[in-house]
């Protein structure tokens, strides 16, 4: 499977819809749709989506009135225990078609016969990592821009395979404790790590769709005559390149909605020497820990930490030609006051370089401050504002004659519409 053809996804959802409508129970669907209309004022380097190095989705040449998020999240119950879910996102940019799929999978949810619950997902979906992206369409109810970790997950990470999870029903532990374990085997996520290495961390809310082509800056190493000149000027993160399956295992413990801890070990087991059709395979692995606490006065504290590595190319002088470690963590405080929600998040991020390839200079470090506010006008409409500052020091930017230290700022005013049927 070279690419997830869009035809497959369209066929998948059409068949699911037809099966449901043809069944005895035409009401077995749930549609959640959302659209964010925003006024955005951004400063800093031109956006990475324009083929530059800016960390944001917008810059002072592209900001203004925007549809900053648009999705439809559809669920169809094919039987009482088999669900088909598909999520499409629309982005009016040049990275792919206007509308494409971010997730499409089947989930088998057998009715528990004991105190264990089993769930099996097959298809393309997000691994169970983010604490922020809990709304329909994998969107965040807390901020408009995601944390650095979840922005990277949105850009480059998707399970395209099968995930089995088992959880204990809560009454086993007196109704307050919930335990679950997950394991997955996946294919087609081999180029993941390209963007972290060559672009670094970002902060935005764009979720890559199956057939998106994510642009790279005109790095010297991917230009004609460069070390990786075969690399396309873009990344297709969901392609299978080496024919090797990856895996992850994870678990979660939740206590009375007051405390939650979640952990995962991920390894795409990619062959760092594999290359196909303009895309390299990157051997990417990480550990991830997330924790959430209900603090006094109903403040919610969230924490995610991801630490991993990515490598590509043959080993030269004891390291792959591109060999990085990456690390990011954030803390977010959020609270609801009736119809108001306030969230404050602080991210730090880092990429360190282990290789000695002088032509490929990727180390960076930085931080992000995000302050967001939403006011719920009705069940369907919220308005909000977000201020975001991201400061980065990236060694590779000197190649373009740019200052390696840059502070980018973004102010966003949003009208958020959400509909469910």
């Amino acid at each position: 499977m070279a690419r997830l053809p869009i035809k497959f996804a369209v066929a998948f959802i059409s068949l699911a819809a037809c099966a449901v409508y043809a069944s005895d129970s035409p009401n077995r669907y749930q549609l959640n749709a959302g659209i964010d209309a925003s006024y955005i004022n951004a400063s800093g380097y031109n956006s990475w989506t324009e083929g530059s190095v800016g960390k944001l989705l917008y810059d002072d040449t592209t900001d203004g009135l925007k549809i900053s998020q648009a999705f439809a999240d559809m669920e169809f119950w094919l039987t009482d225990t088999l669900k088909a879910r598909a999520v499409v996102n629309a982005y009016p940019d040049d990275l792919g078609s206007l509308v494409d799929f971010t997730q499409a999978y089947l989930e088998w949810r057998p009715v528990p016969r004991s105190r264990n619950r089993y769930r099996l997902k097959v298809g393309a979906f997000y691994p169970h990592l983010s604490l922020e992206n809990v709304s329909a369409g994998w969107d965040s109810p807390y901020t408009m821009s995601y944390s650095a970790i979840n922005t990277w997950i949105a850009e480059e990470l998707r399970t395209i395979g099968a995930e089995l999870s088992v959880s204990r029903r809560p009454e086993v532990f007196g109704g307050a404790h919930t335990f679950s374990l997950q394991g997955a085997v996946f294919v087609a996520n081999d180029p993941t790590g390209s963007l972290l290495s060559w672009k670094g961390w970002s902060a935005h809310n764009r979720q890559s769709r199956f057939n998106d082509k994510l642009p790279l800056a005109p790095l010297p190493q991917i230009q004609p005559g460069g070390l990786f000149e075969q690399q396309d000027p873009y990344v297709e993160p969901f392609r299978e390149i080496d024919g090797r399956a990856g895996y992850y295992v994870g678990g979660e413990w939740q206590f009375d909605r007051k405390f939650l801890i979640r952990a995962m070990h991920y390894d795409n087991r990619a062959d760092p020497l594999a290359f196909e059709n303009g895309q390299y395979a990157w051997a990417t692995k990480f550990e991830h820990i997330a924790a959430q606490f209900l603090l006094p006065a109903n403040w919610n504290l969230m924490f995610q930490w991801m630490n991993g590595s990515s490598a590509m190319g043959p080993v030269v002088n004891g390291a792959h030609m591109v060999d990085i470690d990456f690390d990011s963590k954030y803390l977010m405080l959020t609270r609801e006051f009736n119809r108001h929600r306030v969230s404050l998040r602080y991210d730090v991020f880092e990429v360190t370089q282990n290789d000695n390839t002088r032509e490929d200079n990727n180390p960076e470090d930085g931080y992000v401050w995000t302050l967001a506010y939403f006011y719920e006008l009705s069940n369907n409409v919220s308005i909000g504002a977000e201020s975001l500052i991201i400061k980065t020091h990236h060694c590779g930017w000197i190649y373009y004659g740019l200052d390696p230290t840059q502070k980018e700022k973004q102010l966003q005013l949003t009208a958020r519409f959400r509909f469910g049927s």
């Binding site: 105190r115 809990v134 369409g137 809560p170 009454e171 009375d256 109903n298 609801e336 469910g420």
Partner: protein, 236 residues
């Protein structure tokens, strides 16, 4: 012997159904109905206290006849276990054996209620706009409820061989009315109580003195779902 029965008119039934649509509104109504039903017989006051002496709310309290045979009256109205805001409302419902429980689903989303509690196993898919029959519980015992679509949902139905039952109020107090107390035991149950079952049953005598259950073990914390107050949402 006969028990005072709750007379349920059509209007009352509608009121119950309406009340069930708002969380927390059902309980006071049940309590009111119970009090209005217990105009005759001996009233026994019951208190349930935790190990710190504080009253425990929402504990099922029921009287079971241990002397002679009792013919339970036919349940005249269907108790309601609603789904409101992706929660079971009430969290704990007490019903008489043989009762047919309605699961109306006041949410706009589908639910799929099930229980694997032997011998009251059942499953009930509830899609939007579809009618579903009530579920009859022919065996006494604890029925723990789940939703196969929303894994966090948890509720309980306690099926008792008795028509004399209620739940404690917020101060941990309840009142039962029986004709000849010495023929009865009074029992309590709650998913939060961890004490041994033997200590949760008490024989009544003719004194009609108040009965106090003082629990020895720490209570399980109350169950919270993602739509309870300041809780966090579940992953989509």
């Amino acid at each position: 012997m006969t028990f005072s029965r709750i007379r349920t008119s059509r209007t009352t039934k509608r009121t119950i159904q309406r009340a069930a649509r708002g969380p927390g509104r059902l309980l006071p109504l049940c309590v009111t109905l119970l009090f209005s039903a217990t105009v005759s017989g001996s009233e026994i006051d019951i208190s349930v206290l935790d190990r710190n002496g504080k009253g425990v709310a929402d504990v099922a309290v029921y009287a079971v006849r241990t002397v002679g045979n009792e013919k339970l009256p036919t349940p005249v109205s269907n108790p309601v276990m609603d789904q409101v805001d992706r929660r079971f409302v009430p969290h704990l419902l007490v019903v008489q054996t043989g009762a047919a429980v309605e699961f109306p689903n006041s949410d706009s989303v589908a639910h799929h209620v099930y229980s694997f509690s032997h011998p009251n196993k059942f499953m009930l898919p509830m899609y939007k706009g579809e009618l579903h029959p009530p579920v009859t519980f022919d065996h006494s015992g604890v029925v723990s409820l789940g939703c196969n679509i929303h894994d966090h949902m948890l509720g309980y139905i306690l099926v008792v061989d008795s028509s004399v039952f209620t739940k404690t109020d917020k101060n941990g107090r309840a009142t039962l009315s029986v004709d000849d107390p010495e023929a009865y035991t009074v029992n309590i149950w709650s998913p939060r109580i961890r004490d041994k079952a033997e200590s949760l049953s008490r024989s009544l005598d003719s004194s009609r003195d108040p009965v106090t259950f003082s629990l020895g073990k720490k209570l399980n914390p109350p169950h919270h779902g993602p739509t309870d107050g300041n809780s966090w949402p579940d992953y989509q």
